[in-house]
């Protein structure tokens, strides 16, 4: 087994920002609220911490105030360390770095941080994957296979007409990647890349330096595709439950999946908990007329109305006579008396007035922006 103190985690907080534009207008992909009390980045960070990784860099690009507020000193993830710990890496952090165009350029911008680490391996990960993942096993597989790059994928149904941005891998019987297809026009069960890569730190430093010298910036195009015959690139299949958030609909469904006990049990296992920022809210309070069914309710909520098939984030107030169905209600939202909402996603601190009616559909949930007053 590798000693996980030997692994550096690098998380790209802004990758795929465009996929759920409504939610990333005011924040990074990493700080998109999820599952009643989390942000996307909590899953990747907690997976790393639960796998024994204690040195993690978070690469940001824009809109990162909410991310910095959320992560703070990294205490909630046990990452306030003298050795290693959490490092936020904004653009312009070193001479010659700036707004990057792709992963390679982003890595070039933080190359001094990478060089400074004493780790042997690096894990690169985005923030769009909601899963419980054990990186120890992936690193072990990487070491045993002798690959230059191990890329984690999931066998899932891919539909090109979803017009999302995904990479599909074709593997041979030894799990060696033979073909890398970016947004291919195919439909069916495919090996969809999760954009999680493991490689030796020295090797990463070499390819990043080489790419910068040649003005190349895309890890997928310039490394995975163009160097497919030069490097030993292997796939590692993630078998458990997984959501890869690439659209509002996927975001909605990934949240709703948490109402299933089997998925909750897998994601929030006692042995691999998901850590997040603490807000010291009081427990949720249910009033005399409350009726709640099949819902996830976070701390600090005060519920006097009816809630069904929904997810309520921290500090949501549901007034008397209000009905919430099939909805995702983010932190600090207040739903007025006798209001009726169905298939709605509200961003943080929304106010829905008394007796308002809002209704979306399972395919097109209505989205209400941050701090909106309806």
């Amino acid at each position: 087994m590798p000693t996980m103190g030997n692994v550096l985690g690098l998380i790209f907080a802004n990758m795929h920002d465009g996929a759920i534009h409504d939610l990333t207008k005011v924040r990074t992909m990493g700080s998109v609220p999820f599952g009643g009390r989390y942000r996307f980045i909590d899953f990747t960070l907690s997976n790393m911490v639960n796998s024994g990784i204690s040195e993690i860099g978070v690469i940001t690009k824009a809109n990162y105030q909410s991310l910095i507020d959320h992560l703070g000193s990294g205490r909630e993830w046990d990452l306030t360390r003298k050795k290693g710990g959490l490092h936020i890496l904004p653009p312009y952090g070193q001479v010659g770095s700036g707004m990057y165009r792709g992963r390679l350029e982003a890595l070039g911008g933080v190359i001094n941080f990478i060089r400074h680490s004493s780790a042997e391996y690096v894990i690169l990960s985005d923030c769009d994957v909601i899963a419980s993942m054990n990186f120890k096993e992936i690193i072990k597989a990487h070491e045993e296979s002798g690959a230059d790059i191990t890329t984690v994928y999931s066998k899932t149904y891919y539909n090109s007409s979803d017009n999302s941005s995904k990479t599909v891998l074709n593997l041979d019987e030894n799990n060696i990647v033979r073909e890398v297809l970016i947004n291919p026009s195919i439909t069916g069960l495919s090996n969809v890349s999760l954009n999680i890569f493991i490689l030796e730190k020295k090797f990463l430093e070499t390819i990043v330096a080489d790419a910068i010298a040649r003005n190349l910036y895309s890890f997928e195009v310039d490394i995975l595709q163009h160097k497919i015959n030069e490097f030993d690139i292997r796939g590692y299949e993630h078998n458990g439950h997984l959501s890869q958030i690439d659209s509002m609909l996927e975001f909605y469904e990934a949240n709703m999946n948490l109402l299933r006990p089997d998925i909750r049990q897998e994601l929030f296992s006692t042995y691999a908990p998901i850590y997040t920022k603490i807000r010291d809210e009081s427990p949720a309070k249910y009033g005399i007329n409350s009726s709640v069914k099949n819902s996830l309710i976070a701390d600090g909520c005060i519920i006097e109305g009816e809630v069904e098939n929904s997810i309520l984030f921290r500090g949501v107030i549901v007034n008397k006579g209000a009905t919430i169905r099939n909805s995702i209600i983010m932190q600090g939202t207040e739903v007025g008396g006798e209001a009726n909402i169905d298939h709605v996603i509200t961003d943080k601190n929304v106010i829905i007035g008394d007796s308002r009616m809002l209704s979306g559909s399972p395919q097109y949930p209505v989205f209400i922006g941050k701090k909106a007053v309806v």
């Binding site: 599952g35 009643g36 009390r37 205490r75 948490l258 109402l259 006990p261 909750r264 994601l267 929030f268 908990p273 998901i274 850590y275 603490i278 010291d280 809210e281 009081s282 427990p283 949720a284 309070k285 249910y286 009033g287 005399i288 007329n289 409350s290 009726s291 709640v292 069914k293 099949n294 819902s295 996830l296 309710i297 976070a298 701390d299 600090g300 005060i302 997810i311 309520l312 984030f313």
Partner: protein, 400 residues
Amino acid sequence: MFVKKECVAMLLAGGQGSRLYALTQAMAKPAVPYGGKYRIIDFPLSNCVNSDIDTVGVLTQYQPLALNDYIGNGQPWDLDRIHGGVHILPPYQTALGASWYKGTANAIYQNMSFIERYSPEYVIILSGDHIYKMDYSKMLTFHKEKNADCTIAVLEVPMEEASRFGIMSEDDDNRIFDFTEKPAEPSSNLASMGVYIFTWDKLKKYLIENEEDESASKDFGKNIIPAMLDDGQNLFAYHFTGYWKDVGTIDSLWEANMDLLDPNIPLDLYDAKWRIYSRNPVMPPHYIGLEAQVQNSMIAEGCNIDGIVDFSVIFSGVTIEEGAVVRDSIVMPNTTIKKGAKVEYAIVGQDCIVGEDASIGVRPELMEDKSKWGVAVIGHDIKINSGSVIKPKQIIDTDI
């Protein structure tokens, strides 16, 4: 080198809480869970931080492990400080021998060196047994304005309960002229809340004198306050009017939890300006199932509720299975109530398993002989077998 502090808090947390029986068998009273996610000690600790008192000594003696673990380095209360912060102060051994804390005053006496290193003007004495939100900084201002040597926080209690408290009489200027600890025939209903501010130089003198008196019981209410009154020192009563509850008995602990469900009771835990901090569990939001019915209750994170819950306080990580009923009860962290079990007017400790169709407690209206009715209690880490019946007032401290 220690930075000087104007006021140091000393929190008496060594009490056994013997009237909480099974709930304090393996933990000191201040560590007993309260209000869905808190421990009793969260209230005085949060009051300190919210009142800008950042140096707190916590005096422990009885079963300190749970309490020590819980307080840790004080980070949840923002009390992990370079200068000051929270310090656990257990009894210790010296070159002259070792001794337990023999009374509230003796506990402070034994830790005079801790207080002295901050050279404070004032010391506030608190206890870890009460649920209340109080701004100690206002009381300190009062103490300074009155040029007092000792200020005692008081509240008016019903006359029939007055003999349970330290009772005092005051003049129009709030000056105390009489103080009796637990009087058989109380002269007033002004009760001490167990919150004292002393001017440190004065307190120090009386602590030393009290220590030299071998007949003294080394207690604030019995010795220090009466001695100061006899000497004509300036003692004042500071009136507190908010919610305050001593949770020293099963009934009062049960009531204090139920108070949180009563909208007419002025203890607001949702006030962002006066948060009660606690060590938070790492758990997802709680889940309310398709068949569940939840009303008039508080539910913390990580719970899975598929049964009926009414007028109850449910702590984090509790499972209530389908067909189970929990009414007018308190269920502490990580306990499971199995299918068909019925919990009414009960306190169930943490990490328990209540088996299928077990029955714990009874509604008072169903009892013919009301004198036999009372809250049923299950201690911590206890397994109740399927079908077992626990009667009202029964206290269970081993598996059955």
